[in-house]
Amino acid sequence: MKRVMSLVDLQREEIYIKELTEDRPIASLPFAGRYRLVDFALSSMVNSGIRNVGVLLPENKSRSILDHLRSGKDWDLARHHKGLFYLPPVRPENGEKTSDLRNIYYNLNFVENSNEEFVLLARATSVYNIDFGKVLKFHLDRGADVTVVTSKAWHSDPCSGLILEPEADGGIRDAAIKPELKEGEYRSLGIFLMSKELFCNMVRYAFEHGGTDFRRDAILKQAPGLNFYTYIHDGFSARICSTPAFYLSNLKMLDQAVWQDLFMKENAPIITKVKDMAPTEYKEGAEVKNSLIANGCEIHGTVENSVIFRHVKVAPGAAIRNSVVMEDCVIDAGAEIEYVITDKEVTITQGKRLRGAINFPVMIGKHVTI
């Protein structure tokens, strides 16, 4: 994989997941108890042997990404020569609008100055653990110009996406951007592999002819005449582009087969920022069932069918059910939450009870005390 460099694109519309992305890009969304979404793309890259990664920073929300990825050291990407590169957006001038394509266009010199042959572009908004070495092999075996990684959707979702109709050999019958997603469709995971030269040409042509959207203007519009293939990932995957998808996908982590498939692959761990949290303490009275519990927690109460992030305190008599509780939350004595998503540093004070529904989880924003 020393032949492949990669770009991580963090510029992505967040229409259906606004509450959670007010001050962070989707890529920084906390997930599965201790991760951020960007960890899945980045870990897959590093585990596949990619050693040269450019991170296209979003226009205004780079803080959480810089704070999470930092030097790249936790991913082995703090290197003297290659490693992690932050590519900041170029300030729009003369009324230009910001766009992912523009961001890529103004950072093409990073791609051109690298000595790898292929570019892998990944939007960091999906959950997966993919061996990109296999994607490269597929790409080479097929003689593809462009390979898009897709997977079969396991739930419907209100957000738009690039839907492909694959043929048996991975060729594509049709590709289109659809306004919403239906279960069973093959949808792009936002991962594109092609030669560096083709990538630069497509981006340059698209942007210089007025394009703004990488998917639409660089890929879809230029697809005719190119050998276009899709690599179908058959392991677990999830696209996080709506609040229901975020909630459902987190709870999906309670499925042991999914947990194994995503996190326990040999030589392919999902890597995240190291915090050296202590092991979680189960105290007198702890009643935990069917839940994912991160380190650094202190549990006196009840937790069922939930995902608990790091350093959460569940006081005696407190109960959490069917919920996603992010880092540094406190559920005080006797408080109960069900079908709730709490962002970081939320406190539910004594005896308070909150309840949403499975298709309408209650969202509680950062730093809120209830």
């Binding site: 996190f263 189960y282 069932k289 519990i293 350093h311």
Partner: protein, 377 residues
């Protein structure tokens, strides 16, 4: 390169009272507290104390230790001029010598010490669990104009004869030091932690190496000789949690100490204990599981029952299995219905369905790395 204070950790040889737990790794690499290895404690102490260059003296299984320690980057010790260096006995002009004692181990690495060019040398053991700010001990060493400073802790008088016991004046000046005295004259025990002014140490080690009647041990030979010469030796009192985990029982007990309501060391607090962990997901507790009074680490799956135990990373506890008063080391597998009580399971131990590993508080049952325990009959 100039170093203010260089740390040297005595990681020991093969012979260990930890038995089969040290059959495949050196003692400092033995897992502890659900997440750590013993050596994480002195290394994290060094990092927090601003001591960034550490030699680890071992003559046993240097690969495995090397693989775990790397260059110290997990503890942020990999700075310019810093780093963690594994120091096995090495081949010189006259051949390779085994380390003959604690003092000889340091003596054989005088070359490394000179290269590091420290003003002070801090000597530590690789088998103690504690959180200590060495920089305060160093400040005391400097401000008292000491040539040697010995970390001391008060021990119950009835246990004093197991330790190096010293008498000190009110200002800390040491007047007497006796290794494992039959009749202890005080309850001040040496923690096996020494700070020496470098040149002073150098001269004593060179002299000790020449003595044929010496066992080349700090406690038995070098410290008494320094005292006899009237050198300026001071004690430095430490009063936090400090536990020697050199035996199976003490290792088990120290793990159990971490199950108390107030853990004896705030390992996740400001003086956080760092560790070189593989990346693993949060642990999963199954629908029928029951866990209380326990510490659980990442990557573990519990389908059965855990009571008053320390469970490391990547462990699997099957449905109907029951673990009580035990320490389960990384990636052990306890199959459905197995029973573990008053035991330490070594890394990757597999206890098969229906099997039992049962000890008593006085005789903890132990399994070795990769051991498989089958059901009786």
């Amino acid at each position: 390169m100039k170093t203010k204070c260089l740390a040297m950790i005595l990681a020991g040889g093969q012979g260990s009272r930890l038995g089969i737990l040290t059959a495949k790794v050196a003692k400092p690499a033995v897992p502890f507290g659900g997440k750590y290895r013993i050596i994480d404690f002195p290394l994290s102490n060094c990092a927090h104390s601003g001591i960034e260059r550490v030699g680890v003296l071992t003559q046993y299984r240097p690969f495995e230790l090397n693989n775990y320690l790397g260059n110290g980057n997990a503890w942020d010790l990999d700075s310019r001029g810093g780093g963690v260096f594994i120091l096995p006995p090495y081949a010189r002009e006259k051949g390779a010598d085994w380390y003959r004692g604690t003092a000889d181990a340091i003596y054989q690495n005088l070359n490394f010490i000179e290269m590091s060019d420290p003003d002070y040398v801090l000597i530590l053991s690789g088998d103690h669990i504690y959180a200590m700010d060495y920089s305060k001990m160093l400040d005391a060493h400097i401000s008292k104009g000491a040539e040697a400073t010995i970390g001391v802790i008060r021990v119950p008088m009835e246990e004093a004869s197991r330790f190096g016991i010293l008498d000190a004046e009110a200002d800390g000046r040491i007047t007497r030091f006796t290794e494992k005295p039959a009749q202890p004259t005080s309850d001040l025990a040496s923690m096996g932690i020494y700070i020496f002014t470098k040149d002073f140490l150098h001269d004593y080690l060179v002299e000790d190496a020449k003595r044929e009647d010496s066992s080349h041990d700090f406690g038995k030979d070098v410290i008494p000789k320094m005292l006899a010469d009237g050198a300026k030796l001071f004690s430095y009192a430490f009063d936090g949690y400090w536990k020697d985990v050199g035996t199976i029982e003490s290792l088990w007990q120290a793990n159990m100490d971490f199950l108390e309501d107030e853990t004896p060391i705030d390992v996740g607090g400001a003086w956080r204990i760092h560790s070189a962990n593989p990346p693993l997901p949060p642990h999963y507790i199954g629908p029928e599981a029951k866990v209380s009074h326990a510490l659980l680490n990442e990557g573990t799956v519990v389908l059965g029952e855990v009571e008053h135990s320390v469970i490391s990373s990547g462990v699997r506890i099957g449905a109907g299995a029951r673990v009580t008063d035990s320490v389960i080391m990384p990636f052990a597998v306890i199959e459905d219905g197995a029973v573990i009580d008053h035991a330490i399971l070594g890394p990757r131990t597999r206890v098969m369905t229906g099997a039992k590993v049962k000890g008593t508080p006085d005789a903890i049952a132990v399994t070795g790395e990769n051991e498989t325990v089958k059901a009786a009959g």
